[in-house]
Symmetry: C2
Subunit: 149 residues, 2 copies
DNA sequence: TCTCATTTGAGATTCAATCTCAATAAGAAC
DNA sequence: GTTCTTATTGAGATTGAATCTCAAATGAGA
């Protein structure tokens, strides 16, 4: 977590009349110091492992705030759990997801973004956001026999 | 539900050693006779409304079979519920979703499909399926003031 | 018609997420 | 620093979609 990230968080809290608590800072720190796409539960457990006790409720509530005020990105890959990722200093991007091992790779394609705008315009939709996920087998999983266990 | 749709369903059941029950046929009929994107619960309630009693469990189980054997399409728009749609005689397509009223419009863009293949290839992923959803405000919602209620 | 594995229905269970509420603590006012 | 008000926390309860359990019912091949 850089100073500027922390300042940005403090500013959001101040602007929204939310209090700066040690729990909120610890959750934000944990999120900043990873570039994975993690579930709230994983963030909760990572904190516990570091002997930082923040309740599960507070982790969920803090992730809501971070998402609400655009300090993290949130994604749903269809398994009923939200995954969060560090978002600051990072461009909008989409994901390639391995259906066997779960590896997530990020991609940016400006050509697709342009076409998305065209499609929305054609149907008179005012585009707000999009979800674009490509599911398949990563190289390693293509080369690994199915039942190794 | 056309005869050919029913025949297709019967063939799948036979091929997979699954039994042709009145409940399964009624669920499939309900799905075929609508072009909406509906939750299992909505399908269950629609059947009850028509005085066709199929248990909630059986509706869920049948939707699983229909999805499993590619007789319906399934989508997740991020609200924790699966939505199912009639799929036979219908091409792969993507969705524009209104974030206010929930209206869903379908679109097909072969150019994007081509780029998806390129992206997957570039990252050495063997593409299996994709999720592409554009969220925004439909024309009507853009023109309607927020708090009418 | 008989047999037996499959299916059904009702209710229990799961699990991520949200809610409740009493105890605690942030931070503004003095 | 002390006081005061209000937001926040933590523990556990609750929600809701989906899945599981198991006894009773039934499809379908013999
Ligand atoms: Mn990402
Ligand atoms: Mn559709
Ligand atoms: Zn993989
Ligand atoms: Zn709308």
């Amino acid at each position: 977590m850089t100073d500027s990230e922390l300042e940005k968080f403090k500013k959001v809290l101040k602007d929204e009349n939310l209090k700066l608590t040690p729990q909120r800072v610890e959750v934000f720190r944990e999120v900043c110091n990873s570039d994975e796409h993690r579930e709230a539960e994983e963030i909760y457990l990572a904190l516990r492992k570091r002997d930082i006790n923040v309740s599960r409720s507070t982790v969920y509530r803090t992730m809501d705030i971070l998402y609400q005020y655009d300090l993290v990105q949130r994604m749903d890959i269809g398994d009923g759990k939200w995954r969060y990722e560090h978002w600051l200093n990072c461009h909008q991007h989409d994901h390639l997801i391995c259906i066997r091992c779960g590896t997530i790779v990020e991609f940016i394609n400006t050509q697709i973004e342009g076409i998305q705008k065209d499609v929305a315009e054609k149907f008179n939709y005012q585009l707000v956001r999009h979800v674009h996920q490509l599911f398949g087998l990563c190289k390693q999983c293509q080369d690994t026999p199915v039942s190794v266990k």
